[in-house]
């Protein structure tokens, strides 16, 4: 856990004072709605369908139990007793009152939290692998680099009014669990043979209206140059990114228009001026930041816990949970545990104040007082003794947080959708629930195996539908809610040979009531076509293409042609 120093705390406190003053000017009529909008947005405050929505930053998803208790308290005092964990590893409150937001921010500042730059055309929360620091395939501890970037990107004077929002992800492990190729900038840590840290830099990835997989523009950037190189990228973007059309303003459009090669050249030219300048990182600076992280204290254990292994063999329910929700740890005798916020019947990512407090207690008892929020909208206890796993499972089950569905079809990623968001074309939560209900049989879900199903209520794709193995997108047809299905997306290189990919639309869209049937048909095609249980849904799509799946849903090409012809005949 990063602990604020005096400067970090002062900046957050001063931001509260500034925002309180801006809100007062707005409420007193001294600041117009047009002027206040960008000011409140860069503090995470949207005006939503029913009320303002406040998005609170959880830097790189890392949270202390104490902070989680404050979030629970805020949700009770100023909201309706729950919060929504987002795909940007943040938390959103859907019902605060505008005039009370400064008080909420003051409460957050007491536990080293804030809502700075959680929306607006500025740098957003830096995200990373939710197993950072504990993963067996770790290359570097990405939290330290995320904190370097958090500080650099907070109130950056030159880049506070960018053409559009800007998202950076860092991955410090071999497997990409941070979807780095779907970010404005993706940083993959590497080490040379001497152990020196460098970054592989990709740029121009993203979802939204124009989904693009990012382009690598630098294979090897030694860490001292990290910030000067990013400044070069940002300066080219700030100066030449489009500002005339909000839908063409992300850096991916600039990279595409210039071509990645040309863009790279421009960045290199700019970097030649900035390289070795004042923003160059020093070992001292990185060590200073590193030293402000508290570190888990591990017991020395010989290996896997015997009691845990024995229970796995004896208790199928426990084994099913452990198979799906327990992840290996780099330290012998420890595991990382995912507490699922994807229980059937509950909007994905939602947690009540009671649950938050209970999870805080679990974190204190089992995981050294810390937890992480994953971009898949679950909570992770990263440092659990294997000998505690069974007790933790029992308690998590009682709290409704032990659905053994991580990586499964029912671990749905979904945005808040039309139930809350004023941008949405369609609702997402009822669709997620209908699918979860259809696939409520655990054995069946486990037979289907690994499958990411993601739902977005509109093209802004907050629910990451483009990278779902199955993606569902809400679309508006003459004022009615319809849903378009795509398949074959993948969030990142989570295993060798399976890079980030964007899904392909299978055909015409469906009414909400049809969705569970359509998903079931896709699953049936998969089960019929797979060559073994090892071959995942996504692997079959990559092997066969989408045609067999299309056929399974819409009929054969011939049947589709016939249907089209019939519909064209005069009645």
């Amino acid at each position: 856990m990063y602990r604020y120093d005096e400067i970090d705390q002062r900046l957050v406190d001063e931001r509260v004072v500034q925002f309180r003053e801006q809100t007062q000017r707005f409420l007193a009529g001294k600041l117009s709605e047009d002027d206040f909008r960008p000011l409140r947005l860069r503090n995470g405050l949207y005006i939503q369908r029913y009320a303002p929505m406040l998005r609170v930053a959880i830097p790189y998803g890392l949270l202390s139990s104490n902070q989680l208790r404050t979030l629970a308290h805020i949700s009770r005092k100023w909201d309706r007793g729950y919060g929504h964990f987002s795909t940007r590893q943040n938390i959103q409150f859907n019902w605060p009152k505008l005039e009370e937001v400064p008080d909420i921010l003051a409460e957050l500042a007491k536990v080293q939290m804030h809502a700075i730059q959680t929306s607006g055309n500025s740098f957003r929360n830096i995200t990373t692998d939710h197993y950072a620091g504990v993963a067996p395939d770790e290359i570097v501890d990405s939290f330290v680099w995320c904190e370097v970037l958090r500080q650099w990107s907070t109130f950056h004077p030159e880049f506070s009014f960018l053409p559009r929002k800007f998202k950076i992800a860092v991955n410090g492990a071999k497997a990409d669990r941070a979807a780095i190729f779907l970010h404005d900038i993706g940083l993959q840590a590497v080490r040379d043979t001497a152990g020196n840290v460098a970054f592989h830099v990709s740029v121009g990835g993203g979802m939204g209206r124009t989904p693009i997989v990012g382009h690598v523009i630098r294979e090897y950037l030694p860490w001292p140059h990290l910030l000067t190189y990013l400044e070069a990228i940002l300066r080219v973007y700030n100066r030449y990114g489009r500002r005339d059309n909000i839908h063409k303003a992300r850096i991916k459009i600039l990279v595409k228009a210039r071509t990645p090669e040309k863009f790279r050249e421009e960045v290199e030219t700019e970097w030649a001026h900035l390289k070795d300048g004042p923003a160059t990182l020093t070992g001292e600076e990185v060590r200073r930041i590193e030293s402000r992280f508290t570190r888990p204290k591990y017991q020395r254990l010989p290996g896997d816990d015997a009691g845990h292994l024995a229970r796995l063999a004896a208790e199928p329910g426990y084994a099913a949970w452990a198979k799906r929700n327990v992840f290996p740890h780099k330290v012998a005798g420890y595991s990382a545990v995912t507490l699922s916020l994807k229980k059937t019947g509950v909007p994905p990512g939602d947690a009540t104040a009671d649950q938050m407090e209970a999870v805080a207690a679990l974190a204190d008892h089992y995981s050294q007082g810390e937890l992480r929020v994953s971009h898949e909208q679950n909570l992770i206890l990263a440092d659990v003794l294997q000998s505690d796993l069974h007790a933790l499972w029992i308690q998590a089950k009682a709290l409704g947080l032990a659905s053994p569905n991580i990586g499964m079809i029912t671990n749905i990623i979904a945005c808040p959708g039309g139930d809350f968001c004023s941008l949405a074309n369609a609702k997402s939560i009822p669709v997620a629930q209908a699918i979860q209900e259809r696939f409520d049989q655990l054995d069946y879900v486990h037979d289907i195996g690994e499958l990411d199903l993601n739902i977005s209520g509109c093209m802004n794709s907050c629910g990451h539908h483009h990278v779902g193995h199955i993606g569902i997108l809400g679309v508006d047809k003459n004022g009615e809610e319809w849903y378009q299905i795509s398949i074959g997306g993948n969030q990142g290189l989570t295993r060798p040979g399976a890079p980030a990919a964007l899904g392909k639309v299978i055909g015409p869209s469906f009414a909400r009531a049809q969705i569970p049937d359509v998903i079931q048909k896709l699953i049936e095609v998969y089960l019929k076509r797979r060559d073994s249980e090892e071959e995942r849904f996504i692997d079959v799509i990559w092997r066969t293409g989408i045609e067999p799946f299309k056929e399974g849903v819409y009929g054969t090409h011939h049947q589709r042609q016939e249907r089209r012809n019939r519909s064209l005949e005069p009645a």
Binding site: I7, E14, Q18
Partner: protein, 161 residues
């Protein structure tokens, strides 16, 4: 004369900033007085402007390249950068380039849609003069410089972070 902020004081502005006419053509030059001209006018009437009595400054719009005036900087009494809209942040980079790359040491003023909530960032990027938009009180706006007492980044004001 209008009141502006210069070096964190409210002062009267000796400069008269000219704008292109609605059809894009160059306006008439006043016979005397200190003037800030748009880039297009500087390019078109350079010889005439150089012999005219009174000091000369130039202003860049948000899309215009600071490189375009890099060679001429020693001639100017002031360089201004326009922010046509509050959210258009290109001028911040323009300022950094003028200060860091082209070595402009004289007055750098922000003009256009400027009010107190940008002043802290503008000053960090090297602006030292600010012409606020209509209706803003420069005395009240001075508070905008003090919103943050620290910064994570190296800036023109403070080269080491």
């Amino acid at each position: 004369m209008a009141l502006i902020i210069k070096d964190r004081n409210v002062v009267t502005d000796p400069w008269n900033r000219l704008e292109l006419k609605a059809d894009g053509s160059v306006p008439r030059t006043p016979a005397t007085g200190d003037i800030i001209v748009p880039l297009a006018m500087w390019r078109e009437q350079r010889a005439h402007l150089l012999v005219r009595p009174g000091r000369i400054g130039v202003w860049l719009d948000s899309h215009e390249e600071p490189a375009a005036i890099a060679e001429d900087l020693r001639i100017f009494g002031v360089v201004a950068v326009n922010f046509p809209k509050f959210g258009d942040g290109r001028g911040f980079s323009t300022a950094r380039l003028l200060r860091d790359r082209y070595g402009w040491k004289g007055e750098l003023r922000a003009v256009g849609d400027i009010f107190r909530d940008q002043l802290f960032f503008l000053a960090s990027c090297g602006f030292d003069a600010f012409v606020l938009r209509e209706g803003e009180d420069p005395r009240e706006a001075l508070a905008g410089f003090g919103v943050f007492s620290e910064s994570y980044q190296a800036s023109v004001e403070r080269p080491q972070p």
